[in-house]
């Protein structure tokens, strides 16, 4: 699914069938995918965002790594919680909140699902992943 070339996209959205996904910036010059979709240029060749497309990826998302945060190191987040590294596409890995109560429920390589929490306009409001 390809979006318009100029708008500043939110990081999550829904496909036409209503499946939640992550927006990526797709470079029309070199084909590289960049996250976040609002990046001001392609992370590889620097082509301006206005000359790139946006693309909604609904998976598969793969868990590459994870840790539990034990202390309150972020003002807005109460520990403990789990942070993972999730592959959004080949070679594009981002930190993300993982919605599990115990990291023992996770294993590297497992497929993750984007949690479907949405506001009235249908876009996911809190981006979290959980084992599929």
């Amino acid at each position: 699914m390809t979006g318009d070339k100029t708008s500043t996209k939110p990081i999550a959205g829904r496909s036409a069938p209503g499946e939640p996904g992550i927006w990526l910036l797709s470079c029309d010059a070199c084909g590289t995918l960049t996250f976040p979709p609002g990046a001001y240029g392609c992370q590889r060749c620097g082509t301006p965002r206005e000359q790139c497309s946006t693309e909604l990826r609904c998976g598969p998302f793969v868990l590459r790594n994870f840790v539990t945060i034990h202390a309150d190191v972020m003002p807005a987040m109460k520990a403990p919680y789990v942070i993972g590294e999730v592959a959004l596409s080949d070679g594009l890995v981002e930190q993300a909140l993982i919605d599990v109560s115990d990291e023992g429920a996770l294993r590297i390589g497992m497929t993750m699902r984007l949690l479907d929490e949405s506001s009235g306009d249908g876009a996911p409001t809190l981006v979290r992943f959980t084992p599929a």
Partner: protein
Amino acid sequence: MKNVLTDHKIYVAGIGLHPYLFPCETPYPVIGLTAVRAALADAGMAWPTVQSAYVGSANLGMAAGRVMLRHLGPTGISVVQIESASASGSAAFRAGCLDLAAGASDVCLVVGVDKFGKGHRASDKDGQLHLSPTATNPLVKFALMARAYLKDRNVGVEALARVAVKNHGNASLNPFAQFRKPRTLDQVLASPKVAGDLTVQQCCPRGDGAAAVILVSERAVARLGLDRARLVRVSASVATSENLPAEGVDPAIELIATSTRNALEQASIGPRDLDLVELHEAFSIEEILYTEAMGLCAPGDGARWLQDGHSQIGGRCAVNASGGLIGMGHPIGPTGVGQIAEIVRQIRGEAHGRQHPTARLGLAHMIGLGSVAFAHVLEKTA
């Protein structure tokens, strides 16, 4: 690679520090001027001899250098403030080296001074959204790297803790260090967990501090009649930033490897020639990863290399003989300048109580928010 420091010999002629402190009420000029006056005394110079000044600071605000240095008496010299996150002091040191190499001045003060601040980051103001609020937090990044390393290398959490044991031990021998207590492996492992497998004693403290050095050109050495036996030459200065490496290579590791390789090439030496390395281990895993990336040991051997004692004072290459960021402290602006001071002290043979026996070549290496790197090689001259 062109090295302006080959054609233009630059030396460190004086060093001075204020002990690194937990956040305190002491005004920063008191801390900073202590280091500056100590460096001037160490170089045997009066303030009016200094022709330029570079100030590394990340938290103090605008024009911190002039506000502090005016208390030494006005001389009308150039005072430039430089911020590059954790590497602010290293960036100021490089600017001082290039100033002298360009012939703009012959005697230069480099001072890092800071007080604990709010740590405002540009990456939080770039208008970009992240999947996780932790996306720009170094602790979380390195906790993830630690977890991946332990899994990939099939080693236990003790491998991380040994970094802290060594560096707290070195810091206990350093009168300028923030922590002065040696820690056992059990103590490090039993301290509260912060993120992933990192415990609090494997993380650098917050704090205040200052470190200063006096740089001189070859021309100034002759003009001022300086004692060459106490001069330490800066034989390489490199600055790089994060690149997009091949898939599977962490950009931070590529950053360390490239900047170190470039610095060693400038100095015409290899990694195994180094006697001393001061590096950025805000979190224990960094020292293991970076000793591998720098080529001090083989890839994958970092934990074993440390456990075998090769990075201890008296080992093949003393890594963080000062106590590093974990033990000596990491007040941000001063940290990179403090690394230079430690290597100079070691090369002079003046690191009483923690002297590395064969100290001729040292590497000072800092990163700033994991995305910029500065590397300097220092060399015994006499």
